[in-house]
Symmetry: none
Subunit: 407 residues, 2 copies
């Protein structure tokens, strides 16, 4: 209750069908940062952000937490929370997200998993969990090789994702996603043996083991990627669609497959785009009249944070600021700017820190015209510190798309 | 989650029976506003409020949200939340609130509904949903006419409310409140046919249809109110009483019937008063020694907000400020000043925005002596941004009426 309200739980009966107000939800992946030890300033505080600073001065601001204080989310739960679904109650295997994002024809009853091409030594010990980050073209070639894998009564689909990442979908009878990962998370050790989390999942462990054995044989002569790690087993997720809970015709504009996947899970339509901002903006412009909600995803800020590239992330934020200027040119009734989670460059990883949130709309009460867009200033904004799951209700409210509850 | 505590869930075992500290909960209906486009100042920021500003500087302040971020409440849920009951879990039909407020002898097993006198044309199409807002005296006369309605095995009670509004209570066997409204919400169309939301509610649909048919015949020659719309079917709500969960002998001082209704639902006693502040203050003074909790309701601020009367709401806030001075003269141990929800004049409607909260007591830690009473300043007050359902526990705590939980 109160601050714990999850948007998708209460909007279904309240949405106003005939509103035409357009909403843009701009998700800057890994947005939140921490101060650089040399300057005491975060990436946001270091960047020059004329558009975002102006929105912070004239719009509503606050901080959002994807999972509650102290918990660091992966991209899947962080996005589900932003879309207004309880991330703790709706755990989706990463493999399922990839399969959905890659458009692999994933369906109910199937089990998907993520594959990471890796390097193993003569003893089978993992020496590089990412096989030197092989390019996507190489990944595609290796996936073709794996198509030779054959398992009785099971149909396999394998698809390359980005760099060393791929996905596999198993189709057969009585498959289960209650299977642990083989990725040991560290180098110098063998992959972990798969384990069934429930007794009925043993058949799926056998299927996956057969796949891994054949893969090791098929890839043995390759270099540097001579093995795969398997992780993130997931069945086909069933969540209420945004159309049904929010009354929104929603489009996802996201260059990376996994984000398209999570958008598809909640019923969004998907448009082809690269992860370049120019490509994403063209997609937004071209579809402006056809939808009323646009989820726009910026990926590279997170990657820079994960690489510990403070300067790179700062520069990318400046690119995003110009992108925000372009979006404002389309005059959405509501523009929400936030991130899925924080990825402070000094931590080189996702973190639990709250994420800045901005809402631009005529129906706001900004705290002060002196405000800029930063972690610190958003933390004391007029919206307070709220869960990510509340963002969709706020977006709908500012678009005047929700009726009141009760008389 | 931390902030999600609902007062009535945890206080029952903690209240201290022998405290005599008096609490006043002053609810300024529709209190929160938004900046006027010409001045950038809200109604509260425009008004001159010496008493409230002094309390803001010396008391605790914060912002409350009735339903969580983004959700706009009706008056019923907003008040239930303030009284410490989960507004999402305890939905009360508007008809039930009216019946309770009007003192109609409403009891368990009965079903109540709201009646709006309206105007229909020769084809039965609604041309004015409020029949030109007929005066209350006319409403009373039309209710007397409706007393001629007769339905086998059902007893009817009809009572006028304000203007074109009235209420009906059906008493009989196996009645249900799972019935939809006839109010079409727009003009130019016929009233909607009533529908049963559950199969067992069909008998009640038949009873209500019989009532509507007879009403149309009895009112046919009247003008402009020649028909009624029926809405907000509600059974008798059963909620724990404030006396039992908070250990409070509670009195409601509210001029408008619906607010007396919601107070009665939670077990408060009701005193006769008009909605004039002078009348309410006399009621407060006269009952000061007999109760230890006083819910005092100010209605007109909300009406001014709904009318888009920025100046009027501002002036009314100044009247309330003087009223606060009078209340302080009675020296309550705890004075809580807040609203049920926001009604920004520029929106002419209830809204989702958080509502300012003040607590005057010796046990506070105010943020700054420079503070005044406004949306912005309360948003960054020492109490933070909390759900409305937390207010009662805070009020009890400041009155030293709650023992500690656990040893």
């Amino acid at each position: 209750m109160g601050d714990a309200v999850i948007s998708s739980e209460h909007t279904r009966k309240l949405w106003i069908g005939d509103s035409e107000a357009k909403i843009v939800l701009l998700v800057i992946d890994g947005l939140g940062g921490l101060p650089h030890p040399d300057t005491g300033k975060s990436e946001l505080e270091t960047a020059t952000l004329p558009n975002l600073d102006r929105l912070a001065a004239t719009g509503s601001s606050g901080s959002i937490s994807p999972l509650g204080p102290g918990f660091t989310p992966g991209s899947g739960p962080a996005h589900l929370a932003l879309f207004g679904y309880d991330p703790w109650e709706n755990e989706i295997g990463r493999g399922a997200l990839s399969a959905l994002g890659l458009g692999m024809g994933f369906a109910s009853g199937d089990v998907a998993a993520r594959l990471n091409f890796c390097t193993v030594d003569g003893e089978g010990r993992v020496t590089d969990r990412r096989a030197g980050r092989i390019p996507t073209a190489k990944c595609r070639e290796l996936c073709s090789i794996l198509e030779a894998v054959s398992i009785p009564d099971v149909t396999l689909t394998i698809a390359p994702e980005m760099d060393y990442r791929a996905a596999v979908v198993f189709r057969g009878q009585n498959l289960s996603d209650a299977v642990t990962d083989s990725d040991p998370q560290v180098t110098g050790v063998r992959p972990r043996p798969l384990e069934a989390r429930t007794t009925s999942a043993q058949a799926t462990v056998d299927v996956a083991n057969s796949f891994l054995l054949q893969a090791s044989q098929l890839l043995a002569t390759q270099s540097p990627a001579n093995m795969v790690l398997i992780r993130g087993f997931g069945g086909y997720p069933t969540l209420p669609r945004m159309q049904d809970v929010y009354g929104l015709k929603a489009l996802a504009i996201a260059g990376y497959p996994m984000y398209r996947g999570v958008a598809r899970v909640v019923g969004m339509e998907i448009v082809e785009t690269s992860s370049e901002l120019a490509s994403e903006f063209r997609a937004l412009q071209a579809n402006w009249d056809k939808f009323d909600f646009f989820y726009v995803h910026v990926k590279k800020t997170d990657s820079a944070g994960e690489d510990g590239d403070f300067e790179g992330k700062t520069r990318l934020l400046e690119d995003v600021d110009a992108f925000v200027g372009q979006i404002l040119g389309l005059a959405p009734e509501v523009l929400v700017v936030t991130g899925d989670h924080s990825t402070p460059s000094i931590m080189k990883s996702h973190s639990w820190h709250p994420v800045p949130l901005l809402i631009s709309s005529p129906w706001v009460n900004p705290v002060s015209a002196q405000r800029g867009f930063s972690e610190k200033q958003c933390a004391t904004g007029d919206l307070g510190q709220i869960p990510s799951t509340a963002v969709m209700a706020l977006a709908l409210a500012h678009a005047r798309r929700l009726s009141k509850f009760g008389a």
